[in-house]
Amino acid sequence: MLPIFVIIPLGGAFLIPILAKYRQGLAQLTANLCAGLLLFFSLCSISWLKTGIKIYYIGGWRPPFGICMVLDGLTVLMLLVVNLIGALALVYSIDYIKKYTSTYLYYTLFCLLLAGLNGIVISGDLFNLFVFLEITSIASYSLIAFGAEAEELEAAFKYLVLGSVADTLILLAIGMLLGSVSTLNMADISRSLSNSTSVNLIKYSTALFIIGFGLKTALVPLHAWLPDAHPAAPAPMSAMLSGVVIKIVGVYALVRVIFNIIGFNQLLSSVFIWLGIISMSVGVLLAIGQWDFKRLLAYHSISQIGYVVFAIGLGTPLGIAAGLFHLFNHSLFKSLLFLNSGAVEYSTGTRRLEKLGGLYQSMPVTSATSLVASFSIAGIPPFCGFWSKLMIIIAAFAANNIIGAVVCILVAMVTLASFLKVQKYAFMRKAEEAGSGIKEVPVFMKISMLCLALLCILIGLFFVPFVDTIIKPAAAVLLEGTNYAKSVLGV
């Protein structure tokens, strides 16, 4: 059953341009159908996991020789993130994307993006992961440039250059691992590395993996492309980029390689912790001064991903669970915020906060959902972001990392201040000129935003069962470390 996660979106991407020749409406129907099916199957995959991890051998070839696909706890969590946000972003696109021409190309690229992301998550082979990474990258470069205006092309080119550097570094690192152990299956590499003699080669490839995936995640010294690239894309695509792509391509691939293949140690832990601390503080400080709604959100993405990397880097069971929980929550509220910014731009035609105002009267749904998302990201109690930030801070204190815990608390306060500014300027204050012509957005955009806001509240209220069923198995995969090899190979 596992290949369906790649087959459905790839098949959709193939069918959409053909169907669109007959009728334009079929393109969005097919794309939404694919995303809906994917969401259904990723919900099913929670129950498939109850009988242990699932492995699919492509062509029947067993691991050291063939490519395999693996479904374990971490995979299930990531599939849920990809397909949930993907489906809601596509529902939102139905109305939003009408202002562009050649919309069937947008849906084709979106399906390719979903195929690439699902492939990265489910693949058990390092080179296969790289190929899916490239599919994701190419689809996201072209979707950023989709508007084909001057700024969008510039942002896409910047992302393309830095993204290609990251891809070549990752490929070089894979080559070094291949040179030292002569195999590409993740579990088999992990098993061979434990009795390998070429220690230096493994160190070089670890460093290259951290730089390569760090560029894709936009950790702070490597973040220059993100504030340009994420705001340039169409709003549902920005939601995908900030909510999903940097997490799958960056954080997921990094922790899978570091924890399950190479093996986590004290040095790597401090690298993760310091990258996380620097990212969260620099990201939030750069975000305060922004007046472009989407650019502000993009800087907050850097900061929030810093939390995730910091918490996972602590290496304790609570830390890893907190990091993964925050990753899931961030995908919900950051996608919602990007969809809100898209709705504001759709109705008013501008993203500059100082030109907006009084939208809570003319756009009630958008302002209510954006309030939920702002409270979630700032960490106000009943909403989902509060519980994951609390878990991260408790985990940092428990691991005796006082500096990290204090930085987490300070950054949370600055985040709150920054989002109060957004609420005040865009929604709450009186409009200077009468905003009479501003209308609420169409129905599909409303549905998508309301679903995400509802999820933010529900996960905030019922976070205990959610953490137990989804997050715990995912954290267990990272905690077992290089024993991953034993469970996949069945030795």
């Binding site: 080179f127 490239e134 092309l153």
Partner: protein, 112 residues
Amino acid sequence: MSLYILCLVLFAIGLYCLLVKKNLIKKIVGLGITEYAVNLFFILLGYTRGGEAPILSKDTPITNFVDPLPQALILTSIVIGLGVTALMVAITVRIYEKYRTFDINEIRRLRG
């Protein structure tokens, strides 16, 4: 060993060209050089001096053969490189239509 070092020198030249040069076309060429350095690195991994093609036959057992796996991987990698380069060229053409220049210093509307 010297072959590997030369390969890494080629990689460094490509990376320098990609990151430092101000002209968009030169950046594309730099990306090409970087990709081919990595491809060469993979081919070197499987290479043995005087090696033969790894075709199994009962009559003449081959003892000294070239590893075919990196070559198969590189075929995929070349195709991916083609896709990325094509996309990059397409975006560069559109940038030239909008800005009328290839100079990265003059293509600066995004700030902050």
